[in-house]
């Protein structure tokens, strides 16, 4: 039984699955951050009386973000097939799977970034305003830098969640570790493949979490001394 796992074909599949997972999570995480970061900053600064006060828009964006987040990921994957086809040219395959992953990641990131920014002491905003800072300067020089350790933690959480989500995109031929586990470990009765997939996922998640924690700690100048 054991040798089967380490047969050249399976090993090759394992390596390419890891590559696919990293590719999907990496690209979806990156694009998701590009969309989610500004959204999160806006959500954190646009309530009544805040820097970019626009309560109506804040509510509208909040609603969209909540709607996206309450849709189960597997439903999101199939529901947006037309959109996926429009963007990726196809609705099948690893690259196509990045579209639903990104759409799931962006609102998630927006909310965790919002929480990170809201964690910045209000007194710092007041001090910056008293110095004559513009709202944009306050975001650039105070909110983002001060929230950076929290943002790193938030993005770590996002990547870990994305690794989990990526296991579901096998449904649209997305490949990746989860797909390998389902197709070989489950459907072909190869429990050892399943075990290896799970172990690799554990190591991957652990690695991402440790790296994120390390970076956040390095960036945090408050409690280190």
């Amino acid at each position: 039984m054991w040798p089967e796992v380490f047969s050249p074909q399976i090993l090759k599949l394992l390596v390419s699955s890891i590559g696919q997972t990293l590719y999907m999570v990496g690209v979806a995480g990156l694009i998701g951050t590009l969309i989610g970061l500004p959204l999160g900053v806006f959500l954190a600064t646009s309530r009544r009386g805040e820097l970019f006060a626009a309560p109506a828009i804040n509510n509208a964006i909040g609603l969209v973000v909540n709607a996206a987040r309450s849709t189960p990921f597997i439903i999101l994957v199939v529901a947006i097939v037309p959109l996926t086809r429009l963007i990726a040219g196809t609705s099948i395959g690893t690259s196509a799977a990045i579209v639903p992953l990104t759409i799931a990641a962006a609102p998630f990131i927006a909310r965790v970034i919002e929480a990170a920014i809201r964690g910045v002491d209000q007194g710092l905003i007041e001090a910056a305003r008293a110095m004559g800072a513009t709202p944009l300067q306050i975001v650039q020089k105070v909110l983002l830098p001060e929230a950076l350790p929290a943002i790193v933690s938030a993005l770590t959480l996002t990547v870990v969640s994305l690794i989990g989500y990526s296991a579901m995109v096998g449904a649209v031929g997305g490949g990746g570790l989860g797909d390998l586990g389902i197709r070989f470990g489950y459907q072909r009765f190869m429990p050892d493949v399943m075990l290896v997939v799970v172990l690799v996922l554990i190591v991957l998640v652990q690695g991402v979490q440790s790296l994120g924690d390390f970076l956040a700690r390095r960036l945090d100048k408050r409690a280190r001394f």
Binding site: L124, Q137, K141, P145, F225
Partner: protein, 365 residues
């Protein structure tokens, strides 16, 4: 070191010169929140701070002092009235022009409000970065500021590595970075221990004198007022109930709120065990207790020995407190004299001639 951008006024000219900060009939009302009426934070506030002077505003929490200080740099806008700083009507400026003005108004805070991820140096650099000062110039500005506040060796430390007093020094250097004309101090020593408080207040006094900086400070501590303020305004319930020179306020408080504040620091009341036995009738009493209060120049004369010699009277000191306020001595003395009405009357008369305030508190057995 080029911190003297603003000319130092002659102290005597300050009275005639227009005030650097002026609030005229200012009112601040917060709009009604759901379920409540509009909240009035400040009413009929008229206040002037002469150039180069230190005005202290004292009040309990909730009295409106935080709102008041924020009107001066436009963090709050008045519902009515005018706020003028150095001839510019702050309360009438649009936001972008206000930002420009804020660079000439430094502010320090109770909780310092330093950026945790910037070093002391970089915290001081922040207002300069915001003002668009080139980085080559920033360095030449920060070095003398660090020296001024005594932190030249702490430039590369993060706030978490500094003590409370050091953090406030960074806060002060940061507030001075843009060469402001005005320094606003929002309970800047309230989070510090008494010794550190004194050091920070001494630094504020020095800055006030050396840079001819006009300072408006708010506090709930009378000791802070006593140490630094030239004039004091007492705020209660959103109104200024009394405003005078620090010495006058301490020695002759008028309003009840002021008296409470003053009593908290001067402690001129009779000890409780004596106060309980005090009778208004001399019959059966052995001693009369008389309070003598001396202020300013009177304090220099050796009035106790003068009185004993003049009246051939034996005085016992029950309680005494001598203090210096704004550089002038001020004291209260409670003395015990034999409970003989003629002697008490003679003492009162003689003491009043010497310029003392006299009050017969009562008689004890």
């Amino acid at each position: 070191m080029n911190l003297h951008l603003h000319p130092i006024p002659a102290p005597t000219a300050a009275d005639n010169a227009p005030p650097l900060i002026a609030l005229r009939d200012v009112e601040k009302t917060y709009p009604a929140r759901s379920g409540g009426g509009a909240v009035s934070a400040l009413e009929a506030i008229t206040l002037e701070v002469p150039k180069g002077s230190i005005l202290g505003v004292i009040g309990r929490s909730g009295a409106g002092k935080s709102t008041l200080i924020r009107l001066v740099n436009g963090l709050e806008r008045p519902s009515r009235g005018q706020v003028v700083v150095d001839g510019v009507e702050i309360s009438a400026l649009p936001e972008h022009a206000l930002r420009e003005q804020r660079r000439s108004i430094g502010m320090i805070f109770q909780h310092f409000n330093l950026l945790a991820r910037r070093t002391a140096y970089d915290n001081i650099a922040l207002p300069l970065e915001i003002a668009g000062v080139p980085s080559s110039e920033i360095k030449s500005r920060i070095t003398p500021l660090l020296e001024l506040v005594g932190l030249a060796d702490k430039a590369r430390r993060y706030p978490a590595e500094l003590s409370g007093g050091q953090k406030q020094r960074v806060g002060i250097a940061r507030a001075l970075a843009t060469n402001p004309k005005v320094l606003l101090s929002d309970e800047a020593t309230s989070a510090l221990d008494p010794e550190t408080t004194e050091q920070i207040l001494a630094l504020l006094r020095r800055i006030n004198a050396e840079l001819s900086l006009t300072v408006l400070l708010i506090t709930h501590e009378m000791s802070v007022i006593k140490s630094v303020a030239d004039r004091v305004a007492v705020i209660d319930g959103g109104r200024i109930v009394e405003e005078r020179t620090t010495f006058d306020l301490f020695t002759r408080p008028q309003h009840a709120t002021t008296r409470n504040f003053v009593a908290s620091i001067t402690g001129t009341d009779l000890p409780a065990h004596l106060a309980g036995k005090l009778a208004s009738d001399p019959a059966g009493a052995s001693q009369a207790l008389v309070r003598l209060t001396f202020t300013g120049g009177d304090a220099a004369q050796p009035f106790l020995s003068v009185l004993t010699r003049q009246l051939n009277l034996d005085l016992g000191i029950i309680q005494a407190k001598v203090d210096h306020i704004a550089g002038q001595p001020y004291g209260t003395l409670i003395v015990g004299v034999p409970a003989v009405p003629t002697q008490v009357a003679a003492l009162s008369e003689a003491a009043q001639k010497l310029g003392l305030d006299v009050e017969v508190l009562g008689y004890v057995a």
